[in-house]
Subunit: 329 residues, 2 copies
């Protein structure tokens, strides 16, 4: 509890654990707020809390997610991420070595993404008042002039593209859950996507909508976008890339891969004239190699996502009601 | 748990609880990140998590703290706060009515401060994995041209000013703790201070350092600043305004009022030539009426805070080691 009191132990934690972990990606002065210089007047701002269990899983950890998740939320606005804040909530008794591993992973992910942690906060709560640790990150980014990516820009005729195979993050985390461990070679797809988005925007400004299909999976993202924009989405089910291991695990667990969380994928609505060039650019990028067209935007059924099944039938894709996979991110 | 799953129940929570509570201070579109237009290229950025217990206390709630705490961190850079993010971590079984009261308080505080909530996130964890609810806020603000407020600007000869009586927040929260309830008329001092700071900056740009003495109280803030800036602080103990009720409660609880948290106070290091004008301006402002000089910056004992006691003796003011008052903010 002492490490959360704002006294000497808190200062030690910052000096000896967080600052070394965040390295050159950490705050340079210890003021209450960071002072950033941005090259543009348009700022993207986003936040997410991370409560994933277990803290470490194949292909990543809560530290990676906390960086990549917030970086990706900024990227989905077309923004260049500039800085992150980190807020830890620690449970009394958490091993400092565990906190150190998380902080290291977070620092490495920030370094890989090229986005520094510039400000932070730590609170400690009692035993049984948290579950190890939770992390919140917020991020700010610059939105380049002329970039306007938001749900409202969805246009009838837009082509729907997904940047790669779906479901890997959710299945990788579940494979490590206590009482549920199963063997799989799958690793989380956790990755920062702002480089991919920047490359897409170099090719064309006719990228209308971007979303990273995290909690609730591809189905939730498409349903939310259809509702927000008042357009219909027609999905070609067999075009949606589902790795064989994901399909097998989902069949075993009784899940729909379309509802499983991703942490390094994006779905884009792109003007039909631009889609070929953007797709080529995506496929040349490490995080978009398996990008493909999965559907299009229609005015036939506003607010509704319809999937054409492998058998040629149509089914309505629904927003899941609640929690299929608790604490997946 | 369903409300944390990113599905229909999550959407309902946003639509029917958060958006009405945040009112015109809430997000206007439901994208992953907010798009802000700032009038300057200098952006202040800060975050804090709030785990105060109980959630409601005399003079405030976790909702007020979450707004005022982050607004104040921005103000301590001299920034004009522009927008807030809010991240909730909810414990399964939390009453929706409790969440509603917190969200309402948060929305009202945002309205009072004139700083909208523009983006947010909600996670739900199982029973026994949190304690009701935790809130994280992050904030962005504009730093006006020419404003440069940071620990490193502390200068020998600067006058130390506190904006009002200390210790009220900590004592008000403790008076409601289970097993500790005691009668007091004290209310938390929780308040947004950016208006007061703006008024101070209108009078003079020679405000070198600002800090809000929250966790760890006035003692921690002064010790941290002395260390960060490599200067000594000489404190006139009898000049530090301690309300009689705070003194009585601290004596009863065995606490030093200098270590008790505040949520609507600031301490400033001000150039001696400017201090008289700034003090008058502060005293004319609702959040600075009882502002007064409590000490000065010296080169006699770098990194150390020395208090002259009421009896004329000197004592070293130390950074508390750890946690005197767990979960006070």
């Amino acid at each position: 509890m002492g490490h959360g009191g704002g006294g000497q132990l808190s200062a030690d934690l910052v000096e000896h654990l967080f600052l070394p972990a965040f390295g050159s990606m950490g705050p340079t002065d210890l003021a209450d707020a960071a002072d950033l210089t941005l090259g543009t007047g348009r700022v993207a701002f986003s936040t997410d809390s991370y409560v994933v269990r277990p803290l470490f899983f194949p292909g990543g950890s809560i530290g990676d997610l906390a960086v990549n998740g917030t970086v990706n939320d900024l990227a989905m606005r077309g923004a260049r991420p500039v800085a992150l804040s980190v807020g830890f909530i620690l449970e009394e008794g958490l091993l400092l070595s565990t906190l150190g591993r998380v902080a290291d992973a977070l620092g490495r992910a920030a370094c890989r993404a090229g986005v520094p942690v510039v400000t932070g906060d730590t609170k400690v709560v009692g035993v049984g008042q948290a579950d190890g640790l939770y992390v919140n990150t917020a991020g700010v980014g610059e939105i380049p002039d002329g970039v306007d990516i938001r749900p409202g820009r969805a246009t009838v005729g837009d082509v729907v593209v997904v940047s790669g195979p779906i479901g890997q993050h959710g299945v990788a985390v579940l494979s490590q859950r206590e009482g549920l461990e199963f063997g799989t070679d799958l690793r989380s797809d956790s990755a920062p996507l702002h480089g991919l988005v920047a490359r897409m925007l170099e090719v064309s400004n006719d990228i209308h909508v971007l979303r990273d299909p995290t909690r609730g999976g591809l189905a939730s993202s498409l349903c939310e976008l259809a509702t927000a924009a008042g357009v219909g989405v027609e999905l070609e089910e067999r075009a949606v890339p589902v790795p064989a291991e994901v399909a097998a695990a989902c069949s075993f667990l009784g899940l729909d891969p379309m509802h499983v969380a991703n942490e390094g994928r994006l779905v884009a609505f792109i003007a039909p004239d631009a889609v070929e060039d953007v797709l080529v650019a995506m496929q040349e990028h490490e995080h978009g190699r398996e990008a493909q067209v999965i559907g299009r935007i229609t005015d036939a059924h506003p607010g509704i996502v319809v999937a054409r099944t492998r058998l040629g039938a149509s089914r309505v894709v629904e927003l899941p009601l609640g929690e299929q996979l608790p604490r997946i991110c």
